[in-house]
Amino acid sequence: MHHIYCPYCEEIREEEEYSYTGEAHIERPKDPASISDEVWGDYMFFRSNPRGIHHEMWYHAAGCRRYFNATRDTHSYQIHETYKMGELPTVTAPTKAAPTKAAAQGDAS
């Protein structure tokens, strides 16, 4: 049962107040019309899904109704930090850079 610090309410609150809303720092392509189906599909569906450090968004649904980011270990469930939208994480994965290429790119039938 996660116990999560809301950077807006400035308190640790119970998991029941929040809903998880997916991987953080995924930017919508600036000009969707100009990009390939692969890049668009990548943006919509493909995720890094690491076992370990993960930057993700939570929505304080039963609280202040703000979205914020968390750096959480998906294996130990330890939350290293939470930070406001627009801010960058201070804790990042030590290992090789998060994969950027969607597995479906190129020939993938």
Binding site: Y8, C9, R13, G63, C64
Partner: protein
């Protein structure tokens, strides 16, 4: 209330979402006492607290400065202001004055990026008190309502059973709850069930 025609009183036309529960009442030594503070004016205010023009304008209308510390509230006579999030407040004012308040605020903040929304009918204010309150709260919300964590004046938005609430601790130790209209029947059913062992009185 300005919107009412002269020959009709508020009571004739208005019905709080908890109206049909007013009949429920039992033991005078009830451990939980529920009192609805109905028909108060509820106004949701959005704006940028870093913008002094905004803060000054609001204070000039309300007579108190907006609370900018998380989970706090201020009071000024009949007016209560709850902090909801860094750019959102709930103003609870005397019944029927919300229309005027909205007008005053709009004129005071003409041209600013704000939002003012009258939600007086969307929710109601319920006060719970009594010797059974602490335990009732433990049954009803995941938030830690112990005095060491919940001093008078604090405002918390959290879960209440399977719905949500905004709650505020009062000086006398009782608690005010903001309950959404459409959930108020559920709220009362829950209250009845959860306060069974303490006894419930509707004042």
């Amino acid at each position: 209330m300005t919107s009412l025609s002269a020959n009709l009183s508020a009571e004739d036309m208005m019905e709080s979402s908890l109206h049909h529960h007013a009949v429920h009442t039992n033991a005078t030594d009830a451990g939980v006492v529920m009192k609805e503070d109905k028909f108060r004016g509820h106004v949701n205010l959005r704006g940028n607290p870093q913008d002094t023009a905004f803060m000054v304008a609001v204070e000039s209308v309300l007579g108190v400065a907006l609370p900018t510390r998380a989970n706090t509230s201020v009071r000024n006579g009949d007016t209560v202001v709850y902090w909801l999030c860094p750019n959102e407040w709930l103003l609870i004012v005397a019944s029927g004055t919300q229309g005027q308040l909205e007008a005053d605020l709009r004129s005071a903040m003409d041209g600013q990026h704000i939002a003012i929304t009258d939600i007086s009918s969307a929710q109601t204010l319920v006060n719970l008190s009594g010797s059974g309150l602490a335990e009732l709260l433990q049954k009803s919300t995941v938030y830690d309502c112990h005095e060491s964590n919940f001093p008078a004046g604090k405002v918390v938005q959290t879960t209440f059973a399977k719905t949500g609430t905004t709650m505020c601790k009062l000086e006398d130790g009782s608690m005010d709850f903001v309950i959404r209209r459409s959930f108020s029947d559920y709220f009362f059913l829950w209250l009845q069930d959860a306060s069974e062992e303490y006894g419930l009185r509707v004042a």
